[in-house]
């Protein structure tokens, strides 16, 4: 089977400036004093992962180990310092839901705005509008500015918009932690639906249960390197034990 995502020798290096240089004057002074020292920080080093089409792939690891950086590289937000990422198909990133919501606008306006951020056409959003609203169950709040929404409500709208298309690859970053349990179940159901339709899913979560339940394979990332990669239940068991 063809690979949906091929990650080859990917490294990501951040320049962590010890002091933030924000102005030309500071920059010149620091340059001549030779104080422009950057601490290099390898967020990821030499990552190799092939994710097959239709697979549900999990990423686990402690905070700051580079999981989210890897997701951002896959979805094209970051360019890796070295190495390459090949993605076959369309991506729907659920990295931070509601990116690009303008809180002064109403939910109705935001559905169009956020939809266009994700690259949908107006025609497509028009078609799917009712379906999106039905999924959020927020009919009566549709024309309320979103600044008056609770974070759970915002997440509902964000999730509904992002999953309305049938992407080839779905990227999910700990977004299921918000919302009430009914909505979480609903989200999981929607993800399961997408999966059964052959969509590749990449999930980051701190909930080991969720990962074990949903994923086929898992990569355990520790300080920017792959520690282990393999069957979900095996890796998750080892990961859970290591914490004890």
């Amino acid at each position: 089977m063809a690979n949906a995502v091929e990650i080859k020798n990917v490294s990501m290096r951040f320049n962590m400036a010890k002091e933030k240089v924000d102005s030309i004057k500071e920059y010149i002074i620091k340059f001549f004093k030779r104080q422009l020292l950057f601490e290099e920080f390898m967020a990821l080093s030499d990552i190799n992962i092939d994710i097959e089409q239709g697979e549900v792939f999990g990423l686990i690891g402690l905070n700051g180990c580079g999981k989210s950086t890897l997701l951002k590289i896959i979805s094209g937000i970051y360019k890796p310092s070295t190495g390459s990422v090949k993605v076959n198909g369309t991506i729907a990133p659920l990295i931070e839901l509601g990116a690009g919501f303008d809180m002064d606008l109403t939910a109705r306006e935001n559905i169009y705005l956020n939809g266009s951020v994700l690259g949908y056409s107006k025609q497509y959003i028009d078609e799917k509008f009712d379906e999106i609203v039905d999924f959020t169950e927020l009919h009566q709040f549709l024309d309320v500015p979103m600044k008056n929404y609770s974070s759970g409500m915002v997440a509902r709208v964000g999730f509904a918009i992002a999953t309305i298309t049938k992407p080839d690859i779905l990227i999910v970053d700990e977004i299921l932690a918000v919302g009430d349990f009914l909505f979480q179940e609903k989200c999981e159901k929607r993800i399961n639906e997408l999966m059964s339709g052959g969509t590749t899913v990449i999930i980051v979560s701190h909930s080991i249960d969720q990962i074990t339940r949903l994923c086929d394979r898992v990569a355990w990332i520790e300080s920017g390197k792959i520690k282990m990669i393999g069957k979900a239940d095996e890796i998750c068991a080892l990961y859970a034990n290591s914490a004890k």
Partner: protein, 265 residues
């Protein structure tokens, strides 16, 4: 080809952002978009009052063969367009950092959007130009149909400059403050509030003026709108060279740096 496809894909985002900008700009104002017409008119009244009352120079001076009102307004239309487009674009990439850090969007959308938004504003302020032309009795010439030409030249120039400025602003925020001063200097360096005639006795300044792209766009615009003259091939080539030269520089600078934006936000 690939670039073209992504542009088509995000075309709706572009129009959506322009729509939002218009909505936000005129929120809670009664006259709304009418301000795009009123603003240049009021500015013109102030300047005319200053020049005629304070300096006693009346409606025409410095060899002007058109009333000062319309002379100023035509120049200011082009200048305001370029200055608004570039100075709002400048912050556009940086202000969109929340978005750029979270989803993949072609980043050139942001400066392009600001330029097009200013372009829409400028189209409204053309109404002011027509109104003043009627009231101050300036003849309408057939050359008016050429008006889109200098406007397009100015648009291409603004887009190029906006690409350059918005990319550099991500790395050095100082540019924002510097550019405000630069814009004021640029206004005085261009014959907008003074007639070009007063420079005729100063050959050196006249020579320098040839390197000011704003001068060429402003003069081109005045030629077709109020002088009823068709600029010759040389004028067109100069404008084209400035516009596309700036566009190429801007695109190159933007393209080389755009992958690093996200690390500096």
């Amino acid at each position: 080809m690939k670039y073209f496809q992504t542009f088509i894909k995000y075309k709706y985002l572009l129009s959506n952002l322009i729509g939002r900008d218009i909505k936000v700009k005129y929120r809670r104002s009664i006259l709304g978009i009418l301000w795009s017409v009123l603003n240049p008119l009021l500015m013109m009244l102030v300047l005319s009052a200053v020049f005629s009352a304070l300096f006693g120079m009346g409606g025409r001076f410095g060899g002007l063969n058109v009333p000062f009102n319309i002379y100023y307004l035509t120049g200011a239309t082009i200048y305001n367009f370029i200055s608004e487009a570039t100075s709002t674009s400048m912050m556009s990439v940086y202000s969109a950092s929340q978005l750029i850090k979270k989803v993949y969007i072609p980043k050139y959308i942001f400066p392009l959007e600001k330029c097009l938004f200013s372009f829409v504003n400028m189209l409204f302020s053309l109404i002011a130009v027509f109104l003043v032309m009627i009231f101050s009795g300036v003849d309408f010439h057939l050359t008016m149909f050429l008006m889109p030409v200098p406007i397009l030249y100015a648009l291409i120039f603004s887009i190029g400059m906006s690409f350059m400025l918005s990319a550099l602003t991500v790395f050095f925020r100082d540019i924002i403050h510097l550019y405000g001063v630069f814009l004021t200097a640029w206004m005085y360096a261009t014959p907008i509030i003074y007639p070009i005639g007063i420079l005729e006795s100063r050959p050196k300044l006249m020579f320098l003026m040839k390197f000011n792209p704003m001068f060429h766009y402003v003069e081109y615009f005045r030629s077709v709108t109020i002088y009823g003259a068709i600029p010759n091939l040389k004028d067109n080539l100069i404008c084209l060279a400035f516009s596309f030269g700036m566009l190429i520089i801007g695109v190159l600078i933007f393209k080389n740096r755009q992958d690093k934006f996200v690390l500096y936000m």
